[in-house]
């Protein structure tokens, strides 16, 4: 499946881009994050992140669909 990955904050530094089309066999955000960690040598723990699918907060184990837009959300720091 091909996903659209959006990168914010430190993820932009780690991936070296703001977004990308990413082909993967991963069927859940958790599996996808594990794959991404290997690709970009990321060691940020998943449990301290939230995940968004198609611009909504989502569950780490929810099934993904081809073309989904996914963003990993590090702890926010607005205000």
């Amino acid at each position: 499946m091909t996903y659209q990955l959006l990168y914010f904050a430190m993820f932009q530094d780690w991936a070296g881009k703001n977004e990308e089309q990413f082909s993967s066999a991963a069927a859940t955000p958790a599996a996808l994050y594990e794959e991404l960690c290997k690709k970009y040598s990321i060691n940020y723990p998943q449990r301290q992140l939230r995940v968004a699918v198609n611009d909504q907060f989502a569950n780490w184990e929810q099934p993904l669909n081809d073309g989904d837009r996914i963003a990993f959300i590090p702890p926010v720091a607005g205000g």
Binding site: M10, Q48, L49, Q56, F57, P74, V76, G78, G79
Partner: protein, 151 residues
């Protein structure tokens, strides 16, 4: 009731004027400012970044929660993105209510929740030329307490 992400300076007077209506007996606002230090480092400027689609829906949820929980008339939020210098306003919250108590409470609720839940991040640029994405430890702790993320 609105949440807005702004790439230009927030005009506080204009925002306040928009909220004036005769039913309200009071207006409470909060301005978050860019300060010149953070955790012992001298800050020169900041870069705010948002995930606009998700920030919008999450902030609107917070505003609706404030309206449901407190006896207020209206509440608005504007958050800056992009490059901000020390002294600039990063965020503005405005609340109107018949009585001040509810307005103070709602204003505090909105800014507290925003700092924990709305996907906005800041990259600090220091006087020494370095920069770094800020981890708000207090916000992270509260997000853990709420079960949004885990230890």
């Amino acid at each position: 009731m609105y949440f807005e992400i702004s790439e230009t300076p927030i005009d506080i007077i204009e925002r306040r004027t928009r909220m004036v209506q005769y039913h309200a007996g009071g207006y409470v606002s909060f301005e978050g400012w860019i300060r010149d230090h953070n955790h012992g480092k001298e800050v020169r400027s900041l870069e705010y970044q948002a995930y606009p689609a998700l920030a919008g829906t999450e902030a609107e949820k917070i505003l609706q929660e404030a309206k449901d929980q407190f006896a207020i008339d209206d509440c608005d939020v504007v958050h800056r993105v992009g490059h901000l210098d020390v002294g600039e306003i990063a965020v503005w919250v405005g609340v109107t209510a018949a009585h001040r108590g509810a307005a103070f409470d709602a204003c505090e609720y909105i800014i507290d929740e925003l700092k924990i839940r709305v996907p906005i991040w800041k990259n600090e640029h220091y006087l020494n030329g370095k920069s770094g994405w800020v981890e708000c430890h207090e916000c992270k702790k509260k997000a853990i307490e709420k079960g949004l993320i885990h230890e």
